[in-house]
């Protein structure tokens, strides 16, 4: 698999190259946004790892936007800031995921795998009519949700939120995305709706965070993501 690493720091480029090559990937690097755009066009990598702050124009967010004009290549953005607005901006620019520096190689590798898995199944747009995750089963065709043997009843709105999240496993959905998909675009600022409904859904699903039994994960200040199917956390 071919991975493009875009970072202005030579040390980081070198480290990521060594690390990812060690896991058996082929790695090419770019130091600037312009180089990155050219490299994607010429080499067509399978994944792009893109630093947000490139220290020169165009910066990471712009590169991401430009790539999205013509390419669907999975993009994972790197940032030193843990600021939520940056994360939302990255997702809005079309990034698939983000990682905050410093991070471990193990984590980066896991994110790459997850992003690739998602994009691999996307063309069919989740043809599976039944979603399994741990004890949870969602039968999309019949709108039936069961936890273990027990059927759980949801209001239409709760079900819509659960279905939206569950059909995008592992993918971060921003508050705005959830609001405009479930309620409509007039409700983009009403994030407290989501808080209330997600809380109710979690209770009905019988989540127990103390034992790490969770289906819906919170991305602080950004949104929610559903756990990867049959792969808690």
């Amino acid at each position: 698999m071919l991975i493009l690493v875009v970072d202005d720091e030579p040390q980081i480029r070198k480290l990521l190259q060594t690390g990812l090559t060690g896991y058996g990937h082929q790695v090419i690097t770019a130091a600037t946004g312009q180089e990155a755009l050219t490299a994607v066009a010429q080499r067509q990598p399978d994944v792009v790892i893109l630093d947000i702050a490139l220290g020169s124009e165009p910066d990471g967010l712009v590169v991401c936007q430009r790539l999205r004009e013509w390419s669907q290549v999975p993009i994972i953005m790197l940032s030193v800031r843990s600021g939520e607005s940056t994360k939302v901006a990255a997702l809005d620019a079309g990034a698939d995921d983000y990682l905050t520096k410093p991070f471990g190689m193990e984590e980066l590798r896991a994110r790459i795998q997850a992003v690739l898995r998602r994009t691999a199944m996307e063309p069919a747009s989740s043809p599976t009519a039944v979603i399994h995750s741990g004890a949870l089963t969602i039968d999309l065709a019949n709108r039936r949700v069961t936890v273990g043997e027990q059927e759980v009843h949801f209001t239409p709105l709760e079900y819509d939120i659960l279905r939206l999240l569950a059909t995008h496993p592992g993918q971060i959905l921003t508050h705005q995305t959830i609001l405009s998909q479930v309620w409509g675009s007039d409700y983009r600022d009403m994030t407290h709706y989501i808080r209330i409904y997600v809380n109710q859904i979690r209770q009905k699903l019988g989540e127990n965070p103390s034992a790490n039994l969770r289906y819906i994960l919170t991305e602080p200040g950004v949104g929610y993501r559903f756990v990867e199917p049959d792969n808690k956390q």
Partner: protein
């Protein structure tokens, strides 16, 4: 409504017409009864009429009334009727004395009226100034002062446009009489120029009020400036204190992991061909561990200094503290691979306004601290409580009790715990909670241990609709 809109100088016809009307009515009444009444009756009733006009309508109309009554008296009521000549020469004296008394009385009454009017104006001015200065007193921002001026001045004065120019501006040469330029100045400082456009040429009392308002605004601007500089020097002082503590910390707590990393790396470079593989692996693990530790420490130091410098921006949204607690519980499980936390929240625990990321950090730090001292046979309880004013998170630990004299200190930056490493976590938590106008304090757990209580001010969340 304008308090002070009544013009003092303009000559308006209505009061004079009213004066003529009053005099005519009295004359008609007296003429009707002229055979039954005496001269003394006439003059007394006329005097009363003149008085009423003076008090009601002011100087000019009352003078007119005095002269008119004098003429009517003579013309209609003194024989021979309907001429200005007088039969009895003694009545000439009566008439002249009447005129004198009427004029003096009308002037006195009008003067009293003016005084009353002036007092009313003065009281209105005082009212305006009082309400303006109490409005100013609640403000902490220059822009708000301008806003209040723009909002309030049209209520008090007939003005159509109020603007504050950023610097001292002299009145421009093409002189518009409806425009006033007043410099906002207190002591040596100039805060700009107030430009006011009146709907008509302002009267003296209106100008006087405008100037008084300008003085109030200048004083408010000065107060804000002084408060700002006081706060700046306070945060400088605070930053200074932090710098000292930081230097102390850097010399010990940062150097230790750095030294470990450096020596391990050097050993690996120099001795890699002689050291057994297991030992090499051990050194690499140590480097990794110490780097994590260093990363956390640097992150904490940065957070602390940003908090202390007031450089943290918070994004307050309606969020759920039980969600935060759930995240912390899940992270704890991932770290210990065991259930070390018990959550205790009502199903309808309310939403509160806070920054999710910041509160997550604050609660994580407190929980991490509680877990460090929790005996292995029990678990930390995280419980939600509400009352009329606050939403609280109780983090209940069952380890050793914190002595009373240390209860406040444990949340100070760089408090050294029993493991000898600098403590910033609780100080950061406290900083974050206080940024949300909340409180963080510690009490004893009944039966032993420390209960940290994190309280956020409670406001009613907007209702959700389905």
């Amino acid at each position: 409504m304008n308090y002070l809109s009544r013009s003092r100088t303009a000559l308006r016809p209505l009061p004079y017409l009213l004066a003529v009307l009053v005099v005519s009515m009295i004359t008609f009444g007296l003429w009707w009864l002229r055979e039954d009444l005496t001269l003394a009756n006439f003059s007394l009733i006329y005097i009363v009429g003149t008085f009423v006009v003076a008090i009601w309508l002011g100087t000019g109309p009352s003078l007119l009334a005095a002269v008119l009554t004098f003429i009517n008296f003579n013309f209609f009521l003194i024989k021979p009727y309907y001429t200005l000549s007088v039969e009895d020469p003694r009545e000439v004296i009566d008439l002249l004395v009447y005129l004198l008394v009427a004029v003096i009385a009308s002037q006195l009454a009008a003067y009293a009226r003016q005084q009353a009017e002036a007092a009313r104006l003065h009281a209105a001015e005082q009212n305006v100034l009082y309400s303006l200065s109490s409005a100013f007193n609640q403000l902490t921002d220059r822009a708000n002062i301008v806003q209040v001026l723009q909002q309030r001045l049209p209520e008090y004065l007939p003005v159509q446009d109020v603007e504050v120019l950023p610097q001292k501006v002299e009145r421009p040469s093409e002189d518009k009489p409806t425009e006033s330029f007043l410099v906002l100045q207190a002591g040596q400082s100039i805060y700009g120029t107030l430009r006011v456009t009146f709907t008509a040429v302002p009267t003296d009392s209106q100008m006087r009020l405008l100037m008084a308002c300008t003085v109030q605004a200048s004083m408010a601007l000065q107060r804000i400036q002084l408060a700002e500089s006081a706060q700046r020097s306070q945060s400088l002082e605070e930053a200074d204190r932090l710098k000292t503590a930081l230097l102390r910390a850097v010399s010990h707590d940062l150097r230790t992991p750095l030294t470990i990393i450096k020596t391990s790396a050097e050993n690996l470079t120099d001795l890699h061909d002689r050291l057994p593989e297991a030992e090499q692996l051990e050194m690499i693990r140590t480097i990794n561990q110490e780097a994590d530790h260093l990363n956390k420490l640097v992150g904490n130091l940065l957070d602390m200094s940003r908090l202390q410098a007031g450089a943290v921006t918070i994004n307050r949204h309606w969020n759920a503290l039980n969600e935060v607690a759930g995240d912390v519980a899940a992270h704890t499980w991932q770290r210990y691979q065991a259930e070390r936390i018990r959550l205790d929240f009502a199903p309808d625990f309310p939403l509160v306004l806070f920054d999710y990321g910041l509160l997550l950090q604050a609660v994580s730090n407190v929980v991490e601290n509680a877990l460090r001292y929790e005996p292995p046979e029990s678990v930390v309880v995280v419980r939600g409580e509400t009352d009329a004013t606050e939403v609280r998170l109780l983090i209940v630990n069952h380890g050793p009790t914190i002595p009373n004299n240390l209860k406040a200190q444990v949340m100070e930056p760089f408090f050294h715990g029993k493991d000898g490493r600098i403590g910033l976590g609780l100080a950061i938590s406290k900083g974050i909670v206080e940024l949300h106008h909340g409180r963080l304090w510690v009490e004893d757990t009944p039966g032993g241990g420390a209960t940290f209580i994190l309280a956020l001010p409670w406001e009613e969340a907007p209702e959700s609709t389905e």
